[in-house]
């Protein structure tokens, strides 16, 4: 019974007609590691704030506790919850005449980009992404720029070629 209610709730919280393709599951690892790195930097900062700065600037002690609590809360959020949600909602679909990209953690955003509006496509990979053999693809229109993160490098190259070939075939004005 409860299972049914939860399922229905999850169903309602999904955006209809999701694009087909998911990004590489290794993205999960990348985001988790990135979150862990942030956490490792954030925690000592919050500790230092609580121990030294609060006393120094005469802030109420509650401010230090709040900073610590926030930093501690960031741990599970940045390492587990956010990567999970992001992984769950990241979708894309490349069709002959247009492409769809969906992403988000709390607010889901979905973009529709006609191929004739695509100005150029470029790929980027940071050290962490590169270690896992992943790359981020950026789709640029004259007014907007949308990323598709964590594609296997081969797939990113392939998509870049594919999209460039499909893009800009029309001679309509800008």
């Amino acid at each position: 019974m409860t299972q049914g209610v939860l399922d229905r709730l999850m169903d309602r919280l999904r955006l209809e007609n999701e694009p087909e393709e998911r990004i590489d599951p290794r993205a999960w690892k990348v985001w988790t590691i990135a979150g862990a790195m942030n956490f490792v930097i954030l925690l000592p900062l919050a500790l230092a704030f609580d121990r030294f700065i609060v006393g120094l600037v005469n802030l109420p002690p509650l401010a230090g506790t709040a900073a610590l609590a926030l930093a501690l809360a960031y741990g599970p959020w940045g390492m587990a919850i956010a990567p999970w949600l992001r992984m769950r909602f990241w979708r894309y679909e490349v069709r002959e005449k247009e492409m769809e990209i969906q992403h988000g953690i709390f607010i889901i955003k979905r973009h529709l980009i006609p191929m004739v509006r695509v100005q150029h496509v470029d790929t980027e990979h940071g050290p962490l992404m590169r270690y896992f053999g992943l790359a981020t693809l950026f789709v640029n229109t004259a007014a907007t720029r949308f990323p598709i993160p964590a594609l296997p490098q081969g797939r990113a190259e392939e998509l870049r070629g594919e999209i460039s070939a499909l893009a800009g075939v029309s001679d309509e004005d800008v």
Binding site: F106, I107, K109, R110, R117, A143, T144
Partner: protein, 468 residues
């Protein structure tokens, strides 16, 4: 000739100088202050006029059919050739000084953003301007040329409407804030004694007199703003040609702007708070390409159009856009979200104000919650004004922040369409829709919040090439 003109650009500085000198005659201690002021001013002016003259001396241009070449730079030389095919628009501006000696500024805009994208040739003779314009004009087939030149429609802003536009322009607020800014900048330089003197004067004067003075100042700035608006936009005329709009306006500074229709990306109808009750609106256009300078002037298509007359105006001048016939309203269930969005920050602010005032032993802090009423009114109005519609190839979004905006975009100019939804919106089947268009510099996007998911689905399908 040009040398004279370059030097004359420092004329406002001379006027300022005269002003400061005359004030300094008022008091001896003030004179000392003014003396410092003037000396700093003189040095600055000297530097700037040397700089201007050098710039002028090292600026060369040459033109031939199809090209304009420019050489400039004192230390860092740059040369540039502008080809006819790359020119987006050629505009001519003249101010009163230039006109007195028969000169004009020619502005050549090319695609791209920033200052790189435009070249200003200052102080050209009018013959020269015509020659360059002729050289840069697209080659035409001799037969069509005559037909090409005849305008298809003309629209003028007539006397009464011009004054109405000036009265409702809301510029007096700007003037007021400029005065305040000037005061705050000059404040540290005002000698203490003078300040004390002024304060003593004020203490003796009853409060009502101060209030009257403020009101008078307010009216004065309003009157000034009206006059400046009328002078700026007098003789406003839009001419529609086959492939372009030509807009001219101004008495003292005459402007002539050409906008190619292929550069037009979107039309924005803005109904300001002051203007909406009178059924008036201002038209703006989003334009691709061109530089950063003078954007304001390019982006305003018309300073005052009656909302009732809008369909006729568009029909004559811009038949590419139509006023939507049957817009889709927001569903009633999204009113709650609009309320929350407007009232939650207000309530927080009121609570904060209350806490602070209570701390200062001021008992009427709770009155801050009265702000919730206008917030609620605004929310209801925003909800009522949120509309979307599709008419053939045209997407229309209407929304309000404080002013009401209606954005008209044709499908080929829509760079991308997005829908956004947070969990609460998803639970209630509501979406935020966002349309991105090209606009210089960079892009611009317009949003309508909390639209029915069914409607955004329709918008999505309309934009998508994949038909269900």
């Amino acid at each position: 000739m040009m040398m004279v003109f370059e030097a004359s650009r420092s004329a406002p500085a001379f006027i300022g100088l005269g002003f400061v000198t005359s004030i300094s005659a008022l008091s001896a201690s003030l004179a000392q202050f003014a003396l410092q002021f003037i000396s700093v001013f003189l040095v600055l002016m000297l530097i700037s006029s040397v700089f201007n003259s050098l710039n002028w001396a090292f600026f060369w241009y040459r033109h031939e059919p199809g090209y304009v070449h420019i050489h400039r730079g004192v230390l860092f030389k740059s040369e540039r050739s502008i080809k006819r095919e790359r020119v987006q628009s050629v505009n001519v501006y003249t101010n009163i000084l230039q006109r007195a000696i028969g000169l004009a500024t020619l502005q050549i805009k090319t695609a791209g953003t920033g200052t790189e994208a435009e070249v200003n040739l200052r102080a050209l003779t009018l013959d020269e301007v015509e020659e360059i314009k002729a050289n840069l004009k697209k080659e035409q087939h001799p037969g069509i040329e005559a037909a090409e030149e005849s305008e298809q429609a003309v629209h003028r802003l007539d006397g009464k409407d011009l004054w109405l536009a000036a009265i409702t322009s809301g510029r007096f607020l700007v003037l007021f804030s400029v005065a305040a800014l000037l005061f705050s900048q000059l404040f540290p330089y005002v000698p203490d004694r003078m300040y004390e003197y002024a304060l003593e004067l004020l203490i003796d004067v009853p409060v009502t007199a101060i209030a009257i003075a403020v009101v008078l100042l307010f009216l004065l700035s309003w009157a000034l703003s009206i006059i400046s608006f009328v002078v700026q936009y007098a003789r406003f005329t839009i001419r529609r040609y086959e492939d372009r709009l030509e807009i001219t306006w101004g008495i003292l500074k005459q402007n002539h702007v050409t906008v190619g229709l292929n550069r037009l990306q979107a039309l924005v109808v803005k109904e300001g708070v002051l203007r909406q009750p009178l059924g008036l609106s201002t038209l703006f256009i989003e334009v691709a390409g061109g530089g950063a300078e003078g954007q304001e002037q390019i982006s305003m298509l018309h300073p005052l159009v009656r909302v009732k007359g809008l369909p006729d105006f568009l029909g004559a001048i811009l038949p590419e856009y139509r006023v939507p016939s049957s817009p889709v309203e927001l569903p009633p269930r999204s009113l709650r979200r609009y309320m929350l969005r407007a009232m939650a920050p207000t309530a927080l602010f009121a609570a904060g104000a209350w806490a602070v005032l209570a701390d200062l032993d001021i008992g009427i802090g709770w009155a801050a919650f009265a702000l919730l009423l206008p917030a609620a009114v605004l929310a209801v109005s925003r909800h009522g004004n949120g509309k979307t519609s599709i008419n053939g190839n045209q997407l229309t979004l209407r929304f309000r922040d404080l002013n009401r905006y209606t954005v008209l975009i044709n499908k080929p100019h829509l760079q991308s369409l997005s829908i956004l939804a947070n969990p609460f919106q998803r639970y209630n089947d509501l979406r935020t829709v966002e349309a991105a268009v090209l606009s210089s510099p960079g892009g611009k996007s317009f949003r309508v919040k909390d639209v029915d998911a069914e409607e955004t689905g329709r918008l999505w399908e309309w934009y998508s090439s994949r038909k269900a």
